[in-house]
Symmetry: C2
Subunit: 91 residues, 2 copies
């Protein structure tokens, strides 16, 4: 675990209610769909199902704290893995 | 076109801003994914890209009026077609 375990590049860490949020922008619908498909695979693998809202060229991803109302190391790790789904050079 | 061209089964017709909205509930993530995949195909076919928010077992679909700020017959028709994506017997 890094020194900054409570931050993830590009994500906003909100409190009350505790969540991690990031908006991803894409050049076209194909880019958005590709990202969402990869994210669906990651959800199936990890059992994490963030809230997602999207339109033609964007996707907002919100990872809510579970019943403990506190974000866990696993939540932050999931956010980091979402970042790796982006194509090289950004969305 | 039916007598009730400005209504679509299950959808809420909001004004200011004008939009059509429906929440779809599913028994599991597979049901949600199946619906979203069908909706993506419909979007590619029609060129309509509604705003969608979803979690593990639900999807909210919002069809916003375009630049005219008034919903068109095509918007209502798209909503009707979204309804046909549901498995028989509901989501």
């Amino acid at each position: 675990m890094s020194d900054s375990a409570k931050t993830v590049d590009g994500w906003t860490h909100n409190e009350r209610p505790a969540n991690l949020h990031r908006r991803f922008a894409f050049n076209d619908y194909a880019g958005t769909r590709n990202f969402l498909d990869r994210l669906a695979e990651l959800s199936k693998e990890t059992g994490f199902y963030p809230d997602i809202s999207f339109g033609k060229t964007y996707a907002n991803v919100t990872i809510h704290a579970g019943d403990t109302k506190t974000l866990t190391a696993a939540d932050f790790e999931f956010a980091r893995r979402v970042n790796t789904l982006l194509p090289a050079g950004g969305g």
